[in-house]
Point group: C2
């Protein structure tokens, strides 16, 4: 068993620290996949849309397998199609496994006791439906609500990314003003240092790329054993240099994630056409550019 | 359109403020539903288990339709079976709708922007897969993360229950010591007072039944427009009198939830046999007893 921290280090060495987010939006699928959805409603629509999303998601995996160390798959965008959506989610996770791309399921689950156990099974277990390598979690129910997930780090080499500091409007009130993020950071560091002597442990933190550089530096030095998952690059506003403080002095310790900016065309001339003509080639090119931008900022 | 607060008031007038939790555990299904699962693994197991769970969940709806104002359906226990589990979840939600029982999907979701929109569609929208009447949410991402759900309260008459104070070990650290629960309580009251002039609004709070009576009384007086969803009754340790402080002086303002204590047999003599012989009748009897216990404590 290769545990998540080691698998991640190996993947970063090979492909750099970029993560491509898979957020399927039916209205942004390529024309060929979108056209079958016209006029459908209800369950018929959800089935057709989920089928198109499954094809698209597997195409994204094919496009980024050589350029990204991991994919971050957003559960909500599959769940909106109900059971057929979960069918597509299982198919995309399975395709990523087969392509040798690490899978982070962005589910932000958080519950207690046997319910948390059921989520951990659903998302992570090697005999479960998704078998992700890592998962995002929400900490509001407290330290012990994360126990079933921590147990999977130890027994199955899985990884976690706990919501710590996000950069959406209003996030400060609960995360910073109350000191909640400092406490959660403390738990995570404690877990990592008990699980690994040195280097990065399996319990990561979600830290928004568009926070102030000063705050990012604070978290980087405060949590020396904690890998960061850093959303917000590109379409969401952060540049490669904005992300720099999330990395340590050796250019390690952070995964930068871009979703829309890699997987969808912008309104710039020719992008829509290139995407419609061959979305896999289009996304591969974007993923390569993303990888190079981040590599340059770390050089 | 009957909005959730009105529908709830009507259901409580008819059947009292008890909610039965649907937490399907394969190992606790009646023998007849369990026996088909023997020896199966992987996807074959998940399909068979989800089918059994769907049958059982629909049986619970049939059993409690006359005795409970709502059911609380735990998403995790369906999700553990992947896509077939979501198929079962859709079927159980649909059965509840048809039986005229209000459906609270206990999903504890929490995300931002278009991702939160996708969850709101998945869980609540009248043209979505689950079409729940209300949903539980996790607030760690901040006030505006709940906006897409609030919008459904206004446009579709839906209800929410935001995690406020849970009674699991360690919940105090993040919820009380930081003052986070006080802030969240403030948001909820503000939303309710802006949405309804008086009485209870559509934005409820999850408040654990096994908290100290003093704390429960505090929340009841602090949040006069906020209905409480109160888990923890019965198998989880709280008595009817423990729940009393969650209600206002007129015996309104709280929904008491019991899951295991109503839907599964205890180790007491004869219970297992009665459950195996006719689980619908068995659960109906428990739901009636639960309803009477709560009614007595409010008399």
């Amino acid at each position: 068993m290769t545990a998540f921290p080691q698998a991640l280090t190996a993947a970063i060495a090979l492909k750099g620290p970029t993560v491509v987010g898979i957020d399927p939006r039916p209205e942004q699928l390529p024309g060929s996949l979108r056209e079958g959805l016209q006029g459908l409603t209800g369950r018929a629509y959800r089935e057709a849309a989920a089928g198109a999303v499954s094809t698209w998601g597997q195409g994204v995996i094919e496009a980024v397998r050589g350029e990204a160390c991991a994919v971050k798959i957003q559960a909500a965008f599959f769940e909106q199609f109900g059971a057929p959506g979960w069918e597509a989610l299982e198919a995309v996770c399975s395709a990523a496994r087969q392509a040798g791309v690490l899978v982070i399921v962005d589910a932000k689950r958080g519950d207690i006791g046997s319910t948390a156990e059921a989520y951990a099974h659903a998302l992570l277990d090697v005999d479960g439906p998704l078998q992700a390598d890592a998962v995002t979690l929400s900490p509001y129910l407290g330290r012990e609500s994360l126990s079933p997930f921590l147990a999977r780090c130890q027994s199955q080499g899985k990884g976690l990314f706990v919501l710590l500091r996000t950069s959406n409007p209003g996030s400060d009130e609960l995360q910073v003003e109350t000191g909640a993020a400092e406490r959660i950071g403390g738990w995570i560091e404690e877990w990592n240092t008990s699980l690994v002597g040195e280097g990065y442990g399996p319990v990561g933190a979600v830290v928004g790329a568009t926070l102030q550089a000063e705050e990012l530096s604070h978290w980087r030095s405060r949590l020396p054993h904690t890998p960061f998952l850093v959303p917000g690059y590109g379409a969401q506003g952060a540049s490669a240099s904005d992300c720099r403080p999330c990395f340590d002095g050796r250019g390690m310790g952070a995964l930068v994630c871009s979703s829309r900016g890699v997987t969808y065309p912008t309104s710039e001339a020719g992008e829509e056409e290139a995407y419609d003509a061959d979305f896999v080639a289009f996304i591969r090119q974007n993923a390569l550019r993303f990888r190079e931008e981040i590599a340059r900022s770390l050089a």
